[in-house]
């Protein structure tokens, strides 16, 4: 009981801090609400999928920006996709960078785009670490006997 409540509190604090620092937003909370008994790992799956997609998109964009004649349209569509994904899981910081990224793409500003891309990558790594910590805590909570609805 003590361990459970302790863990519960830890998770709550951590999530609150993530929200406060702007890593996550309301969408993430919504996502967590979609979790239920039948699919307990729903959020994990979605998040890991997101990071896979993110990596792929970033590599594509890096390659496109390195070439001599930059195909800004392709870069733009990739940024658009990234923006969509990040907003649906609630990764606020990445979403905001994508918005700025799009303006650079429209202005066909190569340096700006490269800079934004580096930022995106940086944020991705950060968020990945944070969420991995969160999931580890949740895993501990579940093994200790806690129920998922209590997490919400």
């Amino acid at each position: 009981m003590d361990v459970l409540s302790h863990l519960h509190r830890q998770i709550a604090d951590f999530t609150a801090s993530l929200h406060r620092e702007g890593f996550l937003d309301e969408q993430f909370t919504q996502l967590q609400k979609l979790r239920d008994e039948s699919t307990p790992d729903f959020v994990n799956e979605v998040v890991s999928l997101f990071f896979e997609d993110c990596e792929k998109l970033v590599t594509n964009m890096a390659r496109a920006l390195e070439s001599q004649t930059v195909d800004f349209k392709q870069v733009d569509s990739s940024v658009h996709q990234l923006k969509g994904s990040s907003s649906s899981i609630g990764a606020t910081k990445i979403k905001n960078i994508c918005i700025a990224f799009r303006t650079y793409c429209e202005a066909k500003n190569r340096e700006g785009c490269v800079r934004c891309l580096q930022e995106v990558d940086h944020e991705r790594v950060l968020l990945k670490n944070k969420l991995q910590t969160l999931f580890r805590l949740e895993q501990q909570f579940v093994t200790a006997g806690g129920s998922i609805p209590a997490l919400q």
Partner: protein, 673 residues
């Protein structure tokens, strides 16, 4: 032309005279030239003057003749005589002209004598004629002057007559002015004003008798005179030395010319022509007065109601809402909820009274809103239990557990009817009995077969449930507190003849409006033993349950999230990652998919193209298409509607947003829009 002839004649005669004088001069000049004033010269002068006289005497008649011919002179014969006289004189003088020198011939003398003789005759005759003529002329002149005077007088008289006619016309026009109103004072005042204008009066006053007919009071006056003789009292009206006369005479000692008019005040019965108008007017005035009084009464009633009842209710409701925000135990919460509901009902009743009194048709609308049936039943039971405990009844309740929770109906009115039922029954008895409250559902009918509602909601999958609320007072165990039951064991025959009261009639009306039924089941003794209420509620249709949906989104994360969301709402989701797959799944599974949710920005075939193709392939029984997009374009919604899509959801997708949009689209499709 005569003038020309006259001047011609004059010139000719001058010429003749000069010629004759020179000839004569040559013939008879045998004297010596002694000086200018000799006899010869004098004689010559005489001659010349004679001839001139003759000329003048000949020209005068010509002029006279001319004037006579031109004008209309009355005494022509005198003139002719005069003309003859002058002509003869002229002739004489002419002939004289030749008698100055030497012996005269016999013919000359003869003619001269004849001429003179004639002249004498004519002149005598003219003198005599003139004697008789002059008085005649004078008479004519006098008559002329007289006539002129007459004309002047007549002109004056005509002027005066015209003025009088105008005045009478003005007075006649007065009646038109007077007829404009039926008010006595207006009539009198108008008469005053118009009369003084027409007749140019200095002042005009109206004196009317008072009620006892003992005094005359001055009621209307045109010009308030400087000396305020005020309300002088008279006993009689007599001219010219009447008190009225002296009173209205003012300061001057002598009373001026005075005329008084006695005007009869017409009584209605005396004057049939004005009867109708007057009567109508009076009736209208009465009606207006009573209408105004009625509306005043209503206004004051509303004010009193509003002040005395509505405002305290508002305060109570406000306080209760504050209660609701507190942390309470479950029981406390239930009690507070019941309080809130009951006060809502009371507030509704007060509003009914105030608004229905303002509206004339006595109808009030039902507010159909979704509400929770379970909580309503709970609060009704709580309320009934409170009352039962207070009045010493036992309380039992039986509620069917399979009742749906979310229904659509008018919660306030239903609660009001239930409250009434409870109160009514509890009032009939004095306690010592058991109050049983039962709620269960009758077999719910499918909305499609319901004729009344099927008319205008043909295709909507509406479900109705009939809920039966039964209240029964049964003999049986009462409260454990024996004292209360002992004192109130008598059955109060409270209006036993009137099983149904006034408020019951109101409830019946309400229930009929809600398409339900209410009746009282009497006991063997004829009193009310139980009441049953059957109400129909529309179960909130879940448009989304079991809905088959195709979801097309190329982004994996988005797809998984949206799929999970839709599954949470209760749909059956088939998720595909491209437009082609979407089309193939639609065509393969037949037409079983009701909704297609499309991401607009897909790489190979974007949402718009998919929508167009879907519309082309599925000619009948289209699936509803909802677009998903992350862009914030303004005209995207219009574009989607143009293509033929039914709805639009913006990313990021929220559960609430998705649910609402789905429901909205399904509802619109269901209503056939």
């Amino acid at each position: 032309m005569s003038r020309a002839s006259i001047t011609g004649f004059l010139l000719f005669s001058c010429l003749l005279i000069s010629v004759s004088s020179t000839i004569d001069n040559e013939f008879n000049c045998n004297c010596d030239d002694e000086g200018s004033w000799s006899i010869h010269t004098i004689l010559e002068c005489q001659r010349v003057s004679d001839f001139l006289i003759a000329v003048a005497y000949f020209s005068i008649p010509i002029e006279l003749l001319y004037f006579v011919s031109c004008s209309n002179f009355p005494f022509k014969w005198v003139l002719l005589q005069f003309i003859a006289f002058i002509v003869l004189c002229g002739l004489t003088h002419l002939l004289n002209g030749w008698t100055y020198y030497g012996p005269h011939s016999f013919q000359l003398m003869l003619s001269l004598t004849i001429a003179k003789f004639m002249t004498a005759l004519v002149s005598c005759a003219t003198a005599i004629a003139l004697l008789t003529l002059i008085p005649l002329l004078l008479k004519v002149k006098v008559r002329e002057i007289f006539l002129r005077q007459n004309v002047l007088e007549l002109d004056q008289e005509v002027g005066m007559m015209k003025k009088q006619k105008e005045a009478s016309w003005h007075v006649r026009m007065l009646t038109q002015e007077i007829r404009k109103s039926l008010d006595k004072h207006t009539i009198l005042y108008t008469t005053l004003v118009e009369l003084s204008k027409t007749l140019d009066l200095h002042n005009c006053a109206v004196w009317m008798p008072n009620d006892d007919r003992t005094e005359m009071n001055l009621t209307h006056e045109l010009k308030a005179s400087s000396n305020n003789y005020g309300r002088s009292i008279l006993s009689m009206i007599r001219m010219p030395d009447s008190a009225l006369g002296t009173a209205s005479g003012g300061r001057t000692e002598e009373a001026g010319a005075l005329a008084a008019i006695r005007m009869p005040m017409l009584r209605v019965s005396n004057f049939k022509g004005a009867l109708l108008n007057y009567e109508q007017n009076r009736a209208l005035q009465q009606a207006r007065k009573s209408a105004m009084m009625a509306s005043q009464a209503r206004n004051s009633f509303q004010k009193v109601m509003s002040h005395g009842m509505r405002r305290p209710m508002h305060s109570i409701l406000g306080l209760l809402s504050m209660f609701q925000n507190e942390n309470m135990t479950f029981e406390q919460k239930m009690i507070v909820d019941t309080l809130v509901k009951t006060s809502n009902v009371l507030s509704t009743l007060i509003n009914d009274v105030m608004e229905i009194s303002a509206k004339d048709n006595g109808r009030f609308p039902l507010e159909m809103r979704p509400f929770q049936l379970h909580s309503m039943i709970r609060e009704a039971s709580c309320f009934a239990k409170c009352l039962c405990v207070y009045q010493g009844f036992g309380f039992e309740t039986e509620v069917q557990s399979s009742l749906p929770d979310l229904v659509i109906g008018d919660e306030r009115r239903a609660f009001q009817v239930i409250l009434h039922m409870v109160g009514h029954l509890l009032n009939m008895y004095d306690g010592g009995k058991t109050f049983i409250f039962r709620v269960f559902s009758e077999s719910g009918s499918q909305g499609k077969n319901d004729r009344m509602l099927g008319m205008w909601k043909a295709n909507a999958p509406h479900e109705y449930i009939s809920v039966k609320f039964e209240i029964e007072i049964s003999e049986g165990r009462s409260l454990s507190d024996g004292s209360i039951s002992a004192t109130h064991s008598l059955c109060r025959r409270h209006n036993s003849d009137e099983v149904e009261g006034l408020s019951f009639g109101m409830c019946k009306k309400l229930v009929k409006m809600m398409l339900g039924n209410i009746w009282i089941s009497p006991s063997s003794l004829g009193q009310a033993q139980g009441m049953t209420l059957v109400l129909k509620f529309q179960v909130r249709p879940s448009y989304v349950e079991g809905l088959k949906v195709v979801l097309a989104d190329d982004d994996d994360v988005n797809r998984i999230v949206t799929k999970k969301l839709l599954e949470k709402l209760g749909c059956e989701v088939t998720a595909v990652s491209s437009g082609f797959e979407c089309l193939s799944s639609l065509s393969s599974a037949g037409n079983s998919f009701r909704v297609v949710i499309l991401d607009l920005q897909m790489p190979e075939m974007d949402g718009f193209e998919v929508a167009v193709r879907i519309r082309k392939f599925c000619s009948r029984n289209w699936p509803l298409i909802i677009a998903l997009t992350a862009s914030a374009e303004d005209h995207l919604c219009e574009r989607c509607l143009q293509i033929g899509m039914n709805g639009l959801i913006r990313k990021p997708v929220l559960l609430q947003g998705m649910g609402d949009e789905l429901r909205r689209v399904m509802q619109r499709a269901g209503e056939g829009l």
